[in-house]
């Protein structure tokens, strides 16, 4: 275990950034989002970022490959090849977009965010493996940070996340802010390596302070209103029961069908693949999509989910039933509470779970 004074954090960041790309919570135009470290950047390690840090592994927009069209000039044609034959003279070549090949550090992820990455791993690293995602995972070094001030929207403990101890999540390094210091503990081999490279900035420390901080965080979590949420009735095998519930019809109504919840969510993994015409070919890119959008999975026939009720249901069924069905009962919500904070209409997964709970236990909603 090491520590560094909060005052000297910038030295640490500079040290890390000297060797690797560094991503951390940055305050820009009044909002906190994960972004690249730059000299003089304003960081915020206490408050929750608007968007989750999943961009680091699964960016909102990324190019997959470019298709280029080249035409053989008439004078380079082989004998017998007809100049007017456009087919033999047109060549399409595909240029793959390079995979991430340099290590990078993502600093300040919370335990819930790290758990979110686990959710994404299940999807992107199972067969067929998403090579773009895998390259980023392989090169990404996660430095997680225990939550200093959990907020009332937080309910990660419901999903077995311990905000007090990031070592329990799949972080490479765990850190805590205690008093005026940041405590640092390498968890994995990657973490050790990183620690080694920044050791000059760190000093040795003992774990006692961290232990009391952990206890403090745990006691705060106990006081938060949503951490008592019951997941009874959700999980694998509940499709018929939940899908057919009439309750959806009663609660979906205010939903705007915007993509806020999906875009701030650390676990939403849906994307769309699109083409963009360039000077001499096509650029194929992928970008996040939202199941809340009316054109989500739109096919030529127009028969995707056509009502907001269906779309609304899909999101929560996916998080709480379909995903557990597929991945050993693991929920694809980590209780970060971002959707709770950001939904324009104050709808959210907590309200949905509570509504079902209430209905199942009798009484009106």
């Amino acid at each position: 275990m090491y520590k560094i004074s909060l005052k000297d954090l910038d030295t640490l960041f500079r040290e890390i950034a000297g060797n690797n790309e560094l991503i951390l919570p940055v305050k820009k135009a009044g909002q906190i989002n994960f972004g690249a470290y730059e000299e003089g950047v304003e960081t915020d390690l206490i408050n929750k970022s608007v968007k989750s840090p999943k961009d680091a592994f699964f960016p909102q927009f990324e190019t997959l490959y470019n298709v280029k069209k080249t035409i053989t000039p008439a004078d380079e044609l082989a004998d017998g090849e007809e100049a007017a034959n456009t087919k033999i003279r047109t060549k399409l070549s595909i240029e793959m977009e390079g995979l991430k090949d340099k290590d990078f550090v993502i600093f300040g992820m919370r335990a819930c965010d790290v758990k979110g990455v686990e959710v994404l791993d299940n999807v992107f690293l199972s067969d067929p493996v998403d090579s773009f995602y895998k390259a980023r995972r392989d090169h990404g070094i996660i430095v997680a940070l225990a939550c200093k001030e959990p907020e009332e929207s937080c309910f990660c403990t419901v999903f077995g996340v311990d905000p007090a101890d990031p070592t329990k999540a799949k972080a490479d390094v765990a850190t805590w802010i205690v008093g005026e210091d940041l405590y640092w503990k390498a968890v994995t081999e990657k973490g050790e390596k990183l620690t080694e490279s920044v050791k000059s900035a760190l000093t040795d420390a003992d774990e006692a302070a961290v232990e009391s901080e952990k206890a403090n965080i745990t006691s705060i979590m106990d006081k938060l209103p949503n951490t008592k949420l019951s997941l009874e009735g959700w999980g694998a095998g509940k499709t018929d029961e939940k899908f057919n519930s009439e309750l959806w019809g009663k609660i979906y109504n205010p939903c705007l069908g915007c993509g806020t919840c999906t875009f701030v969510c650390p676990t939403c993994q849906c994307y769309d693949i699109k083409d963009y015409t360039t000077k001499d070919g096509i650029q194929r890119y992928r970008c996040w999509d939202s199941c809340m959008y009316s054109d989500f999975t739109l096919m030529a026939g127009g028969q995707n989910r056509t009502s907001q009720l269906q779309r609304f249901r899909q999101r929560f069924m996916h998080k709480l039933v379909y995903y557990p069905d597929r991945y050993d009962g693991m929920f694809s919500c980590v209780g970060c509470g971002r959707c709770v904070d950001k939904c324009p209409q104050s709808l959210n997964i907590v309200k949905v779970i509570k509504a079902f709970d209430k209905e199942e236990k009798g009484g009106a909603v």
Binding site: V50, T260, K274, S346
Partner: protein, 319 residues
């Protein structure tokens, strides 16, 4: 608030209305959600306080398609939107029963949360509440002036009059204490480079979630141009470029002359982008070039963009 609930109950019971569109108590002290109440029984969860900022006009598009009348609670500024929707034939006035509810400005939870985390209780936000809002949190208690926690839009309040209502409930207050175009003017006074930096900085946060569009009562298209194939403009990518500027310009342009300046776009933006600055620029230009115009004030008035005079200013001229 009980008075309002009583009145709504009476309306439901005597069959004047078939349902009520209002706000339902949230699971936290500050997150009521818009909801439809079908019975007097359901109304026990009805709430109306400082956090009921949502403009319910847009939900009336669907609600007035239902059998029977829907009672809707509209704040003074919401009624402009409702009028505009009438003008555009988007709501069925005959199926609406409008209760003009009083308003003393609505609260911005982001402002409160700035120094109050772990909120467990908030008091003093009712219509007849105190000057001060008291907030209890797990990290200690806080107090804030009601007026200091107002949404940005309330500082340029359009006034306490309801533009349309079948009956009213509660007293309203004109909370305007700022010039409506002050922010726009401030930007206009900057150099082009500064303005470009400002908007680039703000818009670089945009995550293309479309909340601003979907909440907007003027953006009531069945399917937005950015979602349909008519322009081949449906792109979800957010790249650090002109693309989201194009989205925001067109979003504001499509509601130019129809936007009532209700401020919902800025209220709901998860990234806190001051989106109303686009809309308000158009409003300011319209006022300046074509005479003052407030969308939704008079449902009969011709929108400035479907109108003209022979002497209109030429594009690019500064009047």
């Amino acid at each position: 608030m009980q008075g309002l609930i009583d009145r709504l109950t009476a309306l439901l019971n005597d069959g004047t209305v078939a349902r009520v569109l209002g706000w339902k108590k949230g699971d936290m002290p500050y997150n009521p959600e818009p909801a439809i109440f079908n019975s007097a029984e359901e109304l026990k969860d009805f709430v109306y306080d400082g956090f009921c900022g949502a403009n319910l006009s847009k939900m009336m598009i669907e609600a007035t398609k239902l059998e029977g009348k829907t009672a809707v609670c509209l704040k003074p500024c919401d009624t402009y939107s409702f009028n505009q929707l009438i003008r555009e034939h988007r709501v069925n006035r005959d199926n609406a029963y409008i209760i003009g509810v009083g308003c003393r400005g609505k609260l911005d939870i982001e402002k409160i949360k700035k120094d109050a985390k772990g909120i467990t209780e908030i008091s003093g936000t009712e219509l007849d509440g105190q000057e001060k809002v008291t907030i209890k949190t797990i990290y200690g208690d806080k107090e804030i002036n009601y007026t200091d926690a107002l949404l940005g839009r309330c500082h340029v309040c359009k006034g306490k009059e309801h533009m349309i209502a079948d009956e009213t409930w509660g007293e309203s207050k004109d909370t305007a204490d700022q010039e409506r175009f002050e922010e726009v003017q401030k930007l206009e006074a900057m150099t082009a480079e500064e303005r470009f930096e400002f908007f680039k900085n703000e818009l670089s946060k945009c995550i293309r979630c479309n909340a601003c569009r979907n909440v907007c009562p003027a953006c009531s298209c069945r399917k937005c141009v950015f979602d349909n194939t008519k322009f081949d403009a449906q792109q979800k990518a957010n790249v650090d470029s002109f693309e989201e500027k194009m989205f925001h310009i067109i979003r504001a342009f499509h509601v130019a002359g129809r936007c009532t300046d209700c401020g919902e776009c800025s209220r709901v933006c998860p990234e806190g982008i001051p989106l109303h600055l686009f809309n308000r620029k158009f409003i300011k230009d319209i006022d300046k070039y074509y005479g003052e115009f407030q969308a939704g004030k008079d449902p009969e008035a011709q929108s400035p963009l479907t109108d003209f005079t022979f002497e209109d200013i030429e594009p690019g001229e500064r009047g």
